[in-house]
Amino acid sequence: MANDTMIDIQSVSRSFRQTLAVDSITLSIRRGELFGIVGPDGAGKSTLLRMMAAILNPTGGTIAIAGHDSVKDAEDIKSIMGYMPQGFGLYTDLSVQENLRFTADVYGVTGAQLEKRLPVLYEFTDLASFKDYQAGKLSGGMKKKLALACAIIHEPPLLLLDEPTTGVDPVARRGFWDLLSGLHAQGTTTVVSTPYMDEAERCNRVALLYNGRVLACDSPSAIKARVPGAVLALTSSDNRRLAPLLLGLSGVIDIQTYGNLLNIIVTDRDTVRSRILDLLDSEQIDDYTLEDAPMRMEEAFIYLVNHAEGALPEEVAS
């Protein structure tokens, strides 16, 4: 294993009775990376992170964290990592300060070291004025910040965060990611899982997880580059009727519906655009807009899900 590898996952699987939550995943995460594990509910993100955190043993394969085996040397891993479980893992009946001090005791951060660390964490997370608040009374976003502060209290070289922004308002989400960027800049290897595609853009690399498998693992721009063609955004009064017709057009790879907006992924912008205009004409729809749209992770992910089996449409394959 190369020296700059922080996490080495070799064909890891985990099943729960009939469910295969993680299906022979192989991944390698480098030191200093901000790595995203992106996928919908039930994709297996939490299961994968729990195995990395050495609190769940794989049913197949091996995981090495900084050279420690996740089954045999689980306790070694636990002292060098900070882990934030999905949901709130701290005590709602303890104050912000009590939670921090408890965590510090558990991680062996004490005395002068702790007294120096606490102000830094309060400053970093903006929680200073909430020191004596019961953790249960904090807002969703502040709870996550407190959990983050606890996770980094011992300045771990590795941070595992399971859906840290789920259930948090958009502004707080942005703030949280700014914190992560700050930690990343300090050199902390960070693994974040999220169901939000837009967050993937902020990672060095992401693994797209679906049904327990990795659909793609690359930088966000490289993943988007894998999707051939362009995106056209169509709004009209009759999207419901149009969608299947559009899918029938040659050159249309995929359609995603967002309310009355259709994102159409096409092989060739110009030729398919004129085919769509023809279709709109023949269907006698004139209150529409058809514009170019950027390719986002969102489109890329859905494209990859729909073509996971390598069954690309003929136009693309040729």
Partner: protein
């Protein structure tokens, strides 16, 4: 064991206890309240207890006696029988709690001859009512005999008060030979009350598993023995406070005698508390949901001690296997030790077997729980909480998969 970890856990657990009114009441007022309820149940006044009669005399005197028993508020006549054997079935069904056998010579006096002997059979399964019925019938029969004797003597011009002529009442107790009462039960009952802090401990650990805080803990480098010991410590402290309160309550409110060494009793109580808490940890290590913890704890803490600890049934009346099983229940040894120390003033040295087993259980149950406990998440738990699906739905528009092509 990492002591820093242990005290960190203990402090945190202490906050949980004092900040949650339910838990706080369970470990403080709970045992006292339960003790009052129990003792009340055992002492409650008896009214109209059903009594059976076997009348061999069939004379005016016996009829008068029966009338007086019927008239007394404590007792009523429920049935008549030809023989003592005939009462068996009704005793078993609980239709009568006592039977009075009136001898043939009832009401006949010869100054030289036998005093008529009224024979009583009481149901020891209901010690309180049995004791009261016994006392009542004795008093009625005694008075009646004095009246009869008085009538007889005044015929001779003598004053009945000169005579001391007690009636003989012979008793036979079914099921609970000693007719033990509150005082006898109190030391044992104290042990049962001490299972409440243990229950609270099992619930607390199950709650951490349900809320996901245990996931955070097992992902930390915390020493697992320190984790369990730290969680246990505050309950041990509250348990010992309960012992002191219940002890004082016993002395003051129930005049329970204490003949042994207080130090020895406290040592026994400490070991018993530890064993109970170890058992609670063992339960919680296996079940990590609060509902299941309650059910299992009830089965382990309340049912076996109740039936097996010799509190209600004599241990030697039970089959060998059951006796063997009982050895594993701390309560059995606690009850033996506590009763001997309280009531007979016995020293631990004379009950070394029970003491040694209790000490082993006190230490070993914790060690077994710590040995079995794994710093992993348990996969057979209800995971509603873990996935927090409701939270996620909040921002549906940002969920790409919901809009996948249909």
């Amino acid at each position: 064991m990492n002591l820093r970890h242990m005290f960190a856990l203990a402090r945190k657990e202490f906050y949980h206890i004092v900040r949650d009114p339910g838990t706080f009441l369970l470990v403080t007022v709970g045992p006292v309240f339960l003790m009052i309820v129990f003792t009340y149940m055992l002492t409650s006044e008896v009214k109209n207890a059903p009594v059976g009669v076997i009348d061999h005399a069939h004379n005016d005197a016996s009829a008068e006696l029966i009338d007086r028993i019927e008239a007394d508020p404590v007792t009523r006549i429920a049935a008549y029988y030809e023989s003592v054997d005939a009462t068996d079935l009704d005793f078993q069904r609980g239709d009568i709690v006592a039977a009075v056998e009136i001898p043939e010579n009832y009401g006949q006096f010869s100054l030289l001859g036998d005093v008529p002997t009224v024979h009583m059979i009481v149901d020891g399964m209901e010690p309180t009512s049995a004791e009261q019925v016994l006392e009542t019938v004795y008093t009625i029969a005694d008075e009646h005999t004095r009246d009869l004797a008085g009538d007889a003597l005044s015929g001779f011009g003598l004053d009945s008060s000169l005579l001391d002529l007690p009636i003989n009442v012979e008793t036979e107790t079914l099921f609970n030979p000693d007719l033990r009462s509150i005082v006898d039960f109190y030391p044992g009952l104290m042990g049962m009350m001490l299972t409440l802090p243990a229950l609270a401990l099992a619930l607390s650990l199950a709650k951490e598993a349900e809320n996901g805080t245990l996931e955070q803990l097992v992902a930390s480098p915390v020493d697992k023995r320190a984790l369990l010991a730290g969680k246990m410590l505050p309950y041990l402290v509250f348990g010992m406070i309960d012992v002191v309160i219940l002890f004082i309550m016993g002395q003051v409110a129930y005049s329970v005698p204490f003949r042994g060494s207080l130090l020895e009793y406290m040592l026994v109580a400490l070991l018993f508390n530890m064993a109970n808490l170890g058992l609670a940890l063992l339960i919680a290590v296996f079940v990590r949901s609060q509902q299941v913890a309650i059910i299992v704890a009830f089965l382990v803490f309340f049912v076996p001690p109740f039936f097996l600890s010799g509190m209600f049934f004599p241990a030697d009346a039970m089959p060998f296997i059951v006796q063997l099983e009982m050895v594993e229940f701390p309560s059995m040894h606690y009850v033996s030790l506590a009763k001997a120390i309280f009531l007979q003033g016995t020293s631990i040295r004379d009950l070394l077997f029970n003491f040694v087993i209790l000490a082993i259980l006190g230490i070993e149950l914790f060690e077994i729980a710590a040995f079995i406990f794994r710093k992993k998440i348990i996969v057979t738990v209800p995971w509603r909480k873990w996935f927090n699906r409701d939270e996620k739905r909040q921002s549906l528009t940002q969920q790409p998969i919901a809009q996948s092509r249909g």
